[in-house]
């Protein structure tokens, strides 16, 4: 896509301090006072610590962190469900923090929509009415709202359940309603707050597939919060890892696996299935291309590459990009070496 580098959401030096009088301590926090010291000295809790993020248009940006890392706080700043203590938030070049109530409502009505961990459905309304909810708030006429919601209900596979109440549906089905409700408003930005975390593993995979399928055709800017690394690696075009309210590494999934920024992340990625996640393009040596021998697409996973590599002449293959042009070479030894996770210097199991 030509415009894939446009920045949709820009967050700059964002701080959030929780407590009685955040403004009184924000100066010291900006000077670098840490979370424990702030709690000890002033009784305030540091929620977000100097976050700067540029979220590209039409991509899935994952924000990952364990509980208490501030990820849910961060996503709520984007549509200002939570007010920051200091910093800037820009959407499409518009300053979100300077918006008055009406402008903010319009932002929430037309530009962003949200999917919640516990679904946040209206229990007294049917599936159809829930999906129509955002449209009704936008002021869309009944007939059109009905028609659009019916389309999205069918799209997430809930046709036939229009007149059920959320309480009559399973968790996975309820979250499909949540997803349809968010998509129905045609907002360009989809905020997903641990949207699949409350679901069983199988259902979760299912929902991830639905989301990826939809994204292929819709190309929304999706900001996806999760605590699950596998999920992050699976759906993220870009991942930011959050810890204690600060971003400790940001990059595409391959980057994070191949060059973890610190021991914390190294520990994080130790248990993932590297053969499935790592792509050939991440381990190839660029250049040296003869164009001869067996060819492997750059996006092949190591798992899938091992068999062709072992059969290949010199156990080396040429890596080709989508258009079929050779971009580098990869060897069986290189692939095997990449399967071993990097070691961290110290055991960090109890850190969070």
């Amino acid at each position: 896509m030509a415009d894939h580098d446009n920045i949709k959401v820009k967050i700059k030096s964002l701080y959030k301090v929780f407590g009685d009088n955040p403004q009184s301590v924000i100066g010291e926090v900006q000077q670098g006072m840490g979370k424990p010291e702030l709690l000890e000295k002033h009784g305030h809790v540091l929620g977000l610590n100097n976050i700067s993020l540029e979220i590209p248009e039409r991509k899935i940006q994952v924000i990952m962190g364990l509980s208490g890392s501030g990820k849910s706080t961060l996503i709520r700043h984007i549509n200002r469900l939570i007010e920051p203590t200091a910093g800037e938030i820009w959407i499409d070049g518009e300053d979100v923090l300077s918006m008055d109530e009406a402008a903010l409502r319009d932002l929430r009505r037309f530009k962003t929509s949200m999917v919640f961990q516990k679904f946040g459905l209206l229990p007294h309304r049917t599936v159809q009415q829930n999906v129509e909810y955002g449209l009704k708030i936008q002021g869309v006429a009944d007939a059109e709202a009905h028609e659009r919601s019916a389309r999205w209900i069918a799209r997430v596979g809930l046709a036939g359940f229009e007149d059920h109440y959320p309480g009559q549906l399973s968790g996975g089905m309820q979250q499909r309603v949540g997803l349809a409700r968010a998509l129905a408003t045609d907002a360009e930005i989809l905020l997903m707050d641990e949207a699949f975390s409350a679901l069983d593993p199988l259902i979760r995979t299912d929902m991830q597939n639905i989301l990826l399928d939809l994204q292929e055709e819709l190309h929304k800017t999706i900001i996806f919060i999760t605590h699950d690394l596998d999920e992050a690696l699976r759906i993220g075009d870009n991942i930011a890892i959050l810890r204690d309210g600060a971003v400790i590494q940001e990059g595409d999934p391959q980057e994070i696996i191949m060059t973890p920024a610190d021991d914390y992340i190294t520990d994080f990625i130790r248990d993932i299935n590297r053969s499935k996640v790592i792509k050939v393009r991440s381990i190839m040596s660029p250049g040296g291309v003869s164009g001869q021998g067996a060819q492997i697409p750059a996006d092949t996973s190591l798992e899938a590459a091992l068999a062709p590599l072992s059969k290949a002449e010199n156990q080396t293959c040429t890596v080709v990009d989508k258009s079929g042009a050779p971009v580098g070479t990869v060897s069986l030894n290189g692939a095997i070496a990449a399967l071993t996770p990097p070691e961290s210097d110290e055991p960090v199991a109890m850190q969070y």
């Binding site: 919640f116 909810y133 968790g171």
Partner: protein, 295 residues
Amino acid sequence: MDWTEFPEMGREELRDLKKGIDASFREFSRAYGESLEAFFNPLLQFMIWFERLLLATPWPIILAVVAAFSYLGSRSWKISIGAVLAFLAIGYLGMWEDTMATLAIVLVATMVCIAVGIPIGILMARYNRAQSLITPVLDIMQTIPSFVYLIPVVMLLGIGKVPGLLAVCIYAVPPIVRLTNLGIRLVDREVLEAADAFGANYRQKLFGVQIPLALPNIFAGVNQTIMMALSMVVIASMIGVKGLGVPVLRAISNQYLALGLMNGLAIVVLAIIIDRVTQSYGRRLQAHRNGGDHG
């Protein structure tokens, strides 16, 4: 100093204080009594009209209406047949007119309480300050002996339907205010946050999310309000409200056991019918909550 005797205010001063309060309230009622009466006049006309309507309606139609309402409310044949039988017994034992009069004041009082109480409850739910100001007032309304507020009400408005209605409402409005406030405050924060995230404004949240989800609680408040209005019927009859309370009062002062018992039981029967019907209606209001067999 003598510690057994409390250092009281002087007798004269105390008397003057009481006199002063009485006099100024009398002043107040002289100055504003008539305009207050004028203010309440539409309500009085409505009550008179409603009572006449109930009394002028042929009894079979009233029975049909009772049966229809209790069936619509409870969806239970048992309750509606019970209600009809109870009304037949009441009529047969010569209490039809008093029952209609009681029904009239209870229903009008309930309408007034709903009209006043729900907005106050909404206000309390929106502003913590309103809640902390209004809660003590509700406490006073519920605990102060009813005879005490009958005095100023009678001084202001005299004896009759309107002061009776006022007395009933003072006693009966707190539950609906409290339960409206509570119901709105208990609405799931996640659902409210979702409404916020989609850009709902205050009205859209109030009417689209908060009130519908608080409805079971609000309805429990309506039920309580009706019950309390019924229990005020005897006291209201002391200041000139017609109905089942009048014969009960006569029975107390003349020691007529049977008369007191029959009219008292008629009040109980009305209470039970209304309670069962409104409660099962309230339960149906939250049918969506346990509609499913899924987690």
